[in-house]
Symmetry: C2
Subunit: 328 residues, 2 copies
């Protein structure tokens, strides 16, 4: 059966909106913000072979496509409101669409983020989501979390554990072998990342800066350091590891956790006096949070490059560099 | 020279924002609406070979990619604020990027719509823009223009002229021959559409419904009729034609104007008593507007399919159907 564009949208994606003033079916969707709030917007484009493998379960792909966008809202401390989906498909594949929409809309429902519009077209598989959230109009106490707010003396934290998604990628690449249960666990980390939306909102007024770890800890920390004009010391042996990761050789652990990518955990800073507030926010969100270092004055030579030290405080070299779509 | 993703963004797209609270460089962009306003959002994905030809001038492509989105804002009567750009490129092509960004940002400046964020990745050429505007929170007098507001007795109007973009496409397809000057004129209509943003805003409180003509007059009118639960009579000989179109055979005129697509003119309705207000809005916006028919009760048999009549009021058959990305 061949479905037309409008039938396809209606069957898999069109649902009544509850929060938005107007959802699909007109030239624009309409969305109101609460008084005193501003719009937070992020946009990610996912391409087969670069952001996901052609063999991925469509339901997991639908989840991940929205998750990576929600993770950007989380990093700003924004409350999710709505999203648009633009989808290019080589052909009308109902098995793909049924699974994709199921995974996408399940996460949307869980996050309170409704699909309000989009576009579909025929073309090489491409998924582009724009996500909309709200944050209080900027103030030092309750505004959006930005990359630019880290200050010398702040503690550096990360949520969850790092590196499993990269470890799964290395298995797919054939450079690492894992037993079946271990592979399932890290593959789940890669394919079903959990955006830290509740934690992000809880960190408003608590964290001094935040970013989500999508390109690898060191690469993303570099963005914070550059925007904040500071340096950092990362105590690499304190970076939280999953059980599977703990069983890997140290060099692989460091590659995966420091330069892994696709983690979608929050990396954030907070003044040392705010440690109890950080712990309370983490507890309220039900997410583990680990202190992994501290913010320093910007070094003359180091620029935005953090210093790495081991448990004994000895310098550790940087593993290979962060992921960059246009260089790899 | 190989440019990294971040260098590429900085060189061609990153400019200071004036209206937005925060532009590129963080996890989200931040945008405030004026009090009493709500957000209007639209999203279009453009794929090579389907929405544009590989031979198109990159500067014109940049213009068109934003223009088709601004046209959706216009159809809602929304004032443009900002947009995001997600771009997949097969390789870093600086000639393409320089032209594309020039055309894109020139229209952005003209429309007062600033680039606040986006994403770039390597992949088959794909351009996905989400555009953000503001309209007053819905009221019958000044709210957004919707597809659902047409009422029996309303007049039916269209801006500008129709069909030139389709005529240009037929030349590219080899089914029509034009002299050089005529081809340049219709090719410009196809490649440099002028979104009717000023007209859209001026029609708030004047038009009862609106849509932009992107898939062809009859197809888009069908959406209005369906959403409004009404019928329509279109006087096909009153549909406004360019000078080049007037020189074409009648059958080609009707195909191009009624089912053409890619026009990006506004199709709208207004009560007969509002004719002077329509004329005033058109004059204020500097855009020609033509009455091409009227809204009727919904016919039992006709459904959302408009009746077509000629200058003598005789029924005219429908030319071939509207463009649908998943059927063609």
């Amino acid at each position: 059966m061949s479905l037309g564009e409008f039938d396809l949208i209606a069957r898999y994606f069109d649902r009544p909106v509850r929060r938005a003033a107007l959802g699909m079916g007109d030239d624009c969707a309409l969305l109101s913000l609460q008084p005193g709030m501003q719009l937070a917007v992020s946009c990610d484009m996912l391409v087969e072979g670069r952001h996901f493998l052609s063999t991925v379960d469509p339901e997991r792909l639908g989840h991940k496509a929205l998750a990576v966008n929600l993770s950007d809202l989380a990093a700003c401390g924004a409350e999710p409101l709505a999203f648009t989906l633009a989808l290019a498909l080589p052909q009308t594949d109902e098995v793909f669409l049924a699974g994709f929409s199921r995974g996408l809309l399940a996460l949307a429902d869980a996050a309170g983020c409704e699909l309000i519009g989009g576009d579909t077209t025929r073309g090489p598989l491409n998924i582009c989501i724009s996500v909309f959230g709200q944050v209080p109009v900027c103030s030092a106490v309750t505004g959006a979390l930005l990359r630019s707010g880290a200050r010398p003396g702040d503690d550096l934290y990360v949520s969850g554990t790092l590196g499993d998604a990269r470890l799964a990628l290395e298995v797919f690449r054939g450079t690492v072998l894992l037993d079946g249960a271990s592979f399932d666990a890290v593959r789940k980390a890669m394919e079903l990342p959990q955006p830290r939306v509740t934690l992000g909102v809880a960190l408003r007024g608590v964290a001094s800066s935040a970013i989500d770890v999508s390109d690898g800890l060191l690469g993303d920390l570099g963005h914070v350091l550059q925007r904040s004009g500071v340096g950092a010391v990362v105590e690499v042996d304190t970076v939280p590891l999953s059980k599977v990761m703990r069983a890997q050789p140290l060099s692989l652990q460091r590659l995966c956790t420091l330069n892994g990518g696709d983690d979608y955990e929050l990396l954030f800073t907070a003044p040392a006096v705010g440690a109890a507030a950080v712990a309370a926010a983490a507890a309220a969100a039900g997410v583990a949070v680990t202190r992994i270092g501290r913010i320093t004055e910007r070094g003359d030579a180091g620029g935005a490059r953090p210093q790495l030290v081991d448990a004994q405080g000895r310098p550790v070299g940087h593993p290979e560099r962060s992921f960059d779509h246009f260089r790899t």
